[in-house]
């Protein structure tokens, strides 16, 4: 075999993104940009009451106003709007209440739509809302989960306030607790968050009278198409869903929304294209919220800190209704409470609770940040109880790198990992010992500005997901992903992916995978996505699944293309396919100079003048990938925070994140995902909270009230990686979309508490605002 100069592989290169040019020059296709001939604009009238019976809706005053084409109340659509779907009936006892897209009998949260105006421009539509009269008969707001479950509590729904119970137990927790030398018992509150993608939601719908097209700022065009067909009765084959450029999601656009359903029904009724774009204030009220759990966690340990078992009792606020995966979110955390630690027993129980608030659903990490927060907070409490360094207490419990693959107490098999390596790297980058020395010095001096050091050694399950596992958890769909890879006659490559990016850089990363697999130039690959008429199969983007499932599907399709090319090359070169060697885009007869490039084969397959028996024209292939296991990224995050004990102000001084996300396709994209994840996780720790008042009004409806971090609020991050390839997929990748968010929240709060521990503080409720810290000190 002759040695040849190998081109540098594309996978692993910090390629600048293909997506950037259109985004940087404003040649974008956001849903709100779309203007169609005759287009009408929709505005919704929303309930100002948290809970009320709708006595009457009088729309007469709005009809006939300038530019107003139609006005409807919920009653006008009562027979055709269906009920917004919940695809995850987690338990036998689950109560899935009817959820009309436009309320017509009762409203159950502030912001629920009760009427809509369709007008010739957005200003006129908004004007006309003011002319609609609604009579409400107030009902009691139900806001607190514990009160909601108490006997005699006012009911959100006729069936009561308990949405479901779900239990999972492995090992004998009773035995673990019996005579346990150390028991740590804590309650943590996961505050309610507003995902706040920068692009507000927008929907456009049109019809030719028979078929429908829906453009939506969604993460899930494929799932949406199925669910909208089921909800509205519009036949699936008559419905096309397009997710054009989408400006962030973080789970908030993993939803089937009232506005999507109603825009379809409005275009059907009016025969004109309609568009609805939310204002930010409307979005804060009505884009599903995240988190909102109360976690009671009990850790039973030996005297040296080795964990015997863990009990978690969870209350999860569903809000007023169960939306697409609302009840499944706590389940995604259930298997993660034990995290990277070995223990003999895990006892998890969860109660989903209805309240008169906006429904919760997936928000970046969905269940796993909550679990990671609780276990990583309680590990620090254990360290404090034992008087041991928090790193040491983790070392005594974590799975060592020699023990992989390791089946955890929760029954998941972690395929690979190296917690020691990531932790050692993080400690060194952070300067852990030096910072501990400074901390001791400040404590000794009684410095009003104390230094806190926070640790988080996390793992997560992502790459959602093996279809059989989703089935066993009663989820309504599978977790596979699809791709088509097509060599075009001119030798260029078109890739279709069922994954639906909204900032993740699929067009770049998928091109890198294809360039290596087929031996074609990176520039010769284009990636199509986000349109059910182009990408006919797909499960979309969430749960850090795009690369781990969708990227692997792309690779699988490339392998099929190569096999077809090999057959064709052997036919053209008159040899056996076994004698063909593939390298760098060329199919060569072993030991000879005779070869065909993949581009030549693409043209020959297009011309189809002389194809071998059974080989169809065109050099292309489809593949789906259904993973055998989840993937388990992990890492060690360290945060140093300065807390002013006089003002309560906490400021992050340094933050080090060492993540192991397996093989890396594009380090630039991976680093960007980590940065953004950190910002969101830190924001939960320090800044963000959706606040409802005692009447159930959301107080944080604007970006002035809901504190998204600005550039001035965050430090520069130090990021690095260790690389332990996943063994559950051929790319060795693990996913990175949620890791930063999952890891960082406990690292920051652990740091805050660590700073205050000498003052007898062992918890500060999130977000750790200056006021809360100040109060904790008094």
């Amino acid at each position: 075999m002759t040695a040849q100069v190998e081109a540098e592989p594309e996978v692993g290169k910090a390629r600048r993104r293909k997506e950037d040019t259109r985004l940087l020059t404003g040649r974008t296709q956001w849903t709100d940009n779309l203007q169609l001939p005759g287009m009408l604009y929709v505005a919704f009238l929303r309930s100002p009451m948290a809970h009320a019976r709708i006595v009457n809706v009088d729309v007469q005053g709005a009809r006939g106003l300038p530019g107003v084409v139609a006005v409807f109340s919920g009653r006008d659509f009562a027979d055709e709007q269906g009920s917004l779907p919940c695809a995850w009936p987690v338990s036998e006892d689950i109560v899935i209440p009817d959820h009309p897209p436009m309320a017509h009998t009762e409203v159950r949260y502030v912001g629920e739509a009760v009427a809509c105006v369709v007008a010739t421009d957005r200003y006129k539509a908004a004007d006309a809302l003011e002319a609609i009269e609604v009579d409400y008969e107030p009902l009691p707001a139900v806001l607190d989960m514990n009160e909601a479950l108490a006997e005699g509590a006012a009911k959100v729904h006729e069936a009561g306030n308990q949405a479901f119970t779900w239990k999972f137990a492995q090992g004998d927790m009773g035995a673990a607790l019996r005579d346990a030398p150390v028991v740590i018992d804590r309650t943590y509150v996961q505050q309610r968050l507003i995902p706040s993608a920068m692009e507000p939601r927008a929907v456009t719908a049109s019809t030719d009278g028979e078929s429908f097209t829906l453009w939506s700022a969604t993460q899930i065009p494929h799932v949406l198409r199925v669910m909208l067909a089921l909800t509205t009765g519009i036949p699936e084959h008559r419905l096309r869903v397009i997710a054009p450029d989408v400006g962030g999601g973080f789970g908030s656009k993993l939803q089937v929304t009232a506005e999507e359903v109603l825009c379809l029904l409005l275009t059907r009724r009016l025969g004109k294209p309609v568009k609805w774009t939310e204002s930010r204030s409307e979005g804060n009220l009505t884009v599903h919220h995240g988190r909102d759990q109360i976690q009671h966690i009990t850790l039973a340990c030996e005297a040296d800190g080795r964990i015997r078992g863990l009990r978690v009792e969870l209350l999860a606020d569903m809000g007023a209704y169960l939306m697409l995966v609302t009840p499944g979110v706590p389940l995604l955390g259930a298997f993660m409470y034990n995290s990277i630690y070995k223990m003999a027993a895990l006892d998890f129980s969860c109660t989903g609770v209805f309240t008169t608030k906006m429904p919760t659903d997936a928000y970046r990490g969905a269940g796993r940040p909550e679990a990671t927060y609780a276990i990583e907070r309680v590990m620090d409490e254990l360290a404090a109880e034992l008087g041991v360094d928090p790193i040491e207490v983790r070392r005594r419990n974590w799975i060592t790198h020699q023990e992989f693959p390791y089946t955890t107490v929760a029954g998941l098999t972690y395929d690979s990992g190296n917690y020691e390596a990531a932790t050692d790297r993080a400690l060194s980058l952070f300067g852990y010992d030096k910072l501990r020395a400074e901390q001791a010095d400040r404590r000794d001096r009684g410095d009003p500005v104390q230094l806190g050091i926070g640790v988080s050694t996390y793992t997560e399950m992502c790459g959602l997901a093996p279809s059989r596992v989703l089935g066993s958890l009663a989820y309504g769909a599978g977790g596979w992903e699809h791709s088509s890879v097509r060599m075009l006659p001119t030798g260029k490559v078109e890739v279709v992916t069922g994954s639906s990016p909204h900032g993740q850089g699929h067009e770049t990363a998928w091109s890198q995978i294809v360039a290596d697999a087929l031996g074609v130039p990176f520039e010769d690959v284009s990636v199509l996505h986000g349109d059910t008429a182009i990408s006919h199969k797909g499960m979309d983007t969430y749960g850090s699944r795009s690369l781990v499932v969708g990227g692997v599907a792309v690779l699988a399709a490339c392998e099929k293309v190569k096999e077809k090319a090999r057959t064709l090359a052997a036919h053209m070169l008159e040899c056996s396919p076994d004698d063909i060697e593939f390298s760098q885009g060329s199919f060569q007869v072993r030991g000879t100079d005779a070869a065909k490039t993949i581009q030549e084969l693409a043209l020959a397959a297009f011309a189809a003048h002389d194809l071998p028996d059974g080989v169809e024209p065109r050099l292309d292939a489809d593949a789906t990938f259904d993973p055998e296991n989840f993937s388990y990224p992990h890492g060690t995050h360290l945060c140093a925070i300065e807390v002013d004990t006089e003002t309560g102000m906490a400021k992050i001084r340094s933050y080090v994140a060492v993540d192991d996300v397996g093989k890396v396709v594009n380090p630039l994209i991976v680093e960007g995902q980590v940065h953004g994840g950190l910002a969101q996780g830190i924001a939960q720790a320090l800044f963000e909270e959706a606040v409802y008042d005692a009447e159930g009004n959301l107080l944080t409806t604007t970006m002035a009230d809901y504190l998204l971090p600005t550039a001035a609020d965050l430090p520069d991050f130090v990021t690095d990686r260790t690389e332990t390839p996943a063994t559950s997929n051929p790319l060795g990748v693990k996913g990175v979309g949620e890791a930063g968010t999952i890891a960082s929240t406990p690292a920051v709060v652990n740091a805050v508490v660590d700073a205050l521990r000498p003052n007898g503080v062992h918890d500060v409720q999130m977000p750790c605002t200056p006021e809360r810290i100040w109060r904790a000190l008094r």
């Binding site: 600048r16 993104r17 997506e19 950037d20 040019t21 985004l23 940087l24 020059t25 404003g26 040649r27 974008t28 956001w30 709100d32 940009n33 203007q35 421009d121 957005r122 200003y123 706040s196 993608a197 920068m198 692009e199 507000p200 450029d245 989408v246 400006g247 962030g248 973080f250 204002s279 930010r280 204030s281 909204h502 900032g503 993740q504 850089g505 630039l668 994209i669 680093e671 960007g672 995902q673 940065h675 953004g676 994840g677 950190l678 910002a679 969101q680 604007t702 970006m703 002035a704 998204l708 600005t710 550039a711 001035a712 965050l714 520069d716 991050f717 930063g740």
Partner: protein, 160 residues
């Protein structure tokens, strides 16, 4: 309805506008300048930032009638003959955008920041961009991009 004349990215438009029409809606809905997006309704996010007579403004906080007789530059008017503005190029090089929704406003604000301080420190950049929110990047790469853009633009100025 008042008639206004406004130059946007080098083209002069005469439009009859309602007095309440926001500049950003004039740009997007009337002139097809959809490169400038809207991210909020309280002028917190800065996604709609454009240059109005050479200074950055949030175009959701300016009435179209206030722009009468003015020169507006949007993100669509920055690249010259297909060559990205140095700040756009710097955002590309430093991976300072993910979903890209905040990017037009962020780039305009960054360029404006350099008018006051052509060689800003990290702290100056972070404080200078406080009026522009990004939910994807955690700002690290945006800060790096603004520094790179500043260097390139500084060199461009000093090169004869």
């Amino acid at each position: 309805m008042p008639r206004i004349a406004v130059t946007v990215d080098g083209v002069t438009y005469e439009e009859d506008v309602e007095p309440r029409l926001l500049l950003v809606h004039l740009l997007r809905d009337r002139l097809g300048k959809t490169g400038t997006p809207i991210g909020c309704d309280t002028s917190n996010c800065g996604a709609c930032t454009v240059m109005l007579d050479g200074k950055s403004v949030k175009s959701c906080s300016v009435l179209a009638v206030q722009a009468d007789g003015s020169d507006v530059v949007t993100i669509e008017g920055l690249a010259v003959n297909g060559t990205l503005h140095p700040m756009q190029q710097a955002f590309h090089e430093e991976h300072a955008l993910q979903c890209g929704y905040c990017t037009p406003g962020m780039v305009m604000a960054a360029i404006d920041l350099l008018r006051d301080d052509p060689d800003p420190s990290e702290e100056t950049i972070r404080e200078g961009l406080e009026g522009n929110l990004c939910r994807c990047t955690g700002y690290c790469n945006i800060v790096r991009a603004v520094r790179r853009g500043a260097q390139t633009m500084g060199q461009a100025v000093s090169t004869p």
